[in-house]
Symmetry: C2
Subunit: 184 residues, 2 copies
């Protein structure tokens, strides 16, 4: 979150865009002229700024009016930079999924249980699937071995990995599917 905000700010073109927006609303064309970049490029930057909540969009006809979201800006600037806030980054700035996985791991790195809720099951299966290399074939024995390193219930996890389209099987051979295929 904070990282996204900072990354959005940390580029000259985007700072200049924000500079223009700080005075008044602008259309994409105006902005492109103002910073001497092509519309597609500006559009791309605006998308990032919007993702980060730094600008607002108001649409009128086929003109898009972008404005500065002053509130988000000052709110974040206040919160981000306190010392103890910063200290939280040491381990933090890890996303929600990682947090879920971490909570399911014993100190030795084994899974405590099979997660009941789908919300937790997905990130954990994803984590498990990542133990497999893409573009390589695994015999079932090796799949079992890899799973058992994390949890004794190899049957359930193997079945679920396939159900989520993270692993695929054919003729007793398994392989990892590309992340884009995964049912999340």
């Amino acid at each position: 979150m904070v990282l996204q905000f900072l990354k959005a700010l940390a580029h000259e073109s985007r700072l200049r865009l924000l500079g223009l927006l700080a005075t008044r609303e602008h259309s994409v064309q105006e902005l492109a002229a103002g910073v001497a970049l092509k519309e597609p490029t500006v559009s791309h930057h605006l998308a990032m700024l919007r993702e980060a909540g730094l600008v607002t969009l108001r649409q009128d006809g086929n003109t898009h009016w972008y404005g500065l979201n002053q509130k988000a800006l000052s709110r974040l600037s206040r919160t981000v930079f306190a010392r103890d806030q910063l200290a939280a980054f040491a381990g933090a700035e890890i996303n929600e999924d990682d947090r879920v996985v971490r909570n399911y791991l014993t100190p030795e790195g084994r899974l405590k249980a099979f997660p009941a809720t789908l919300k937790k099951r997905r990130p954990i299966l994803a984590w498990l699937a990542k133990q497999f290399e893409e573009g390589r074939n695994y015999p079932e024995s090796e799949v079992n071995e890899l799973i058992e390193r994390r949890h004794h219930d190899r049957e359930t996890f193997r079945r679920e990995l396939i159900g989520h389209r993270m692993l695929a099987r054919k003729n007793g051979v398994y392989w990892r599917l590309p992340e884009s295929e995964w049912v999340m």
Copy 2:
């Protein structure tokens, strides 16, 4: 300046490093272990953070103790994010060379004069040289034409462009040299 500060902050590894430093001083080794990166990588990040004035360095024996520069952090966080401060970025955050060139241009984009000092001449010649495409040959007439679009004194500028190894000539044909060759 501000851009450097933001760029320094806008990376997960560096945020995590700052997170560790927010609690107490650390050596490079400690930091490397703390963020699970190799020492050289950490060293590289620390250099950027130091450039941006975000961390302090205290050397004891051959151990380097890095600490958080809380003052710089809060000072910048306060100044950076005010609306009118931001507005200044619209034109600013342009480097010194661009500023020089801009001051030498009339509103129509022509050069006001031939710059007397070398310090100003270089960026202006560089700017002029960039009007030529690399990897293409220009007859002298076209060179003159391109220069005259910016300044009437084609002879002087042509000579200087060659002197700075931005253009080269052979048998009355000119071409632009790669930027790495330029005498700056």
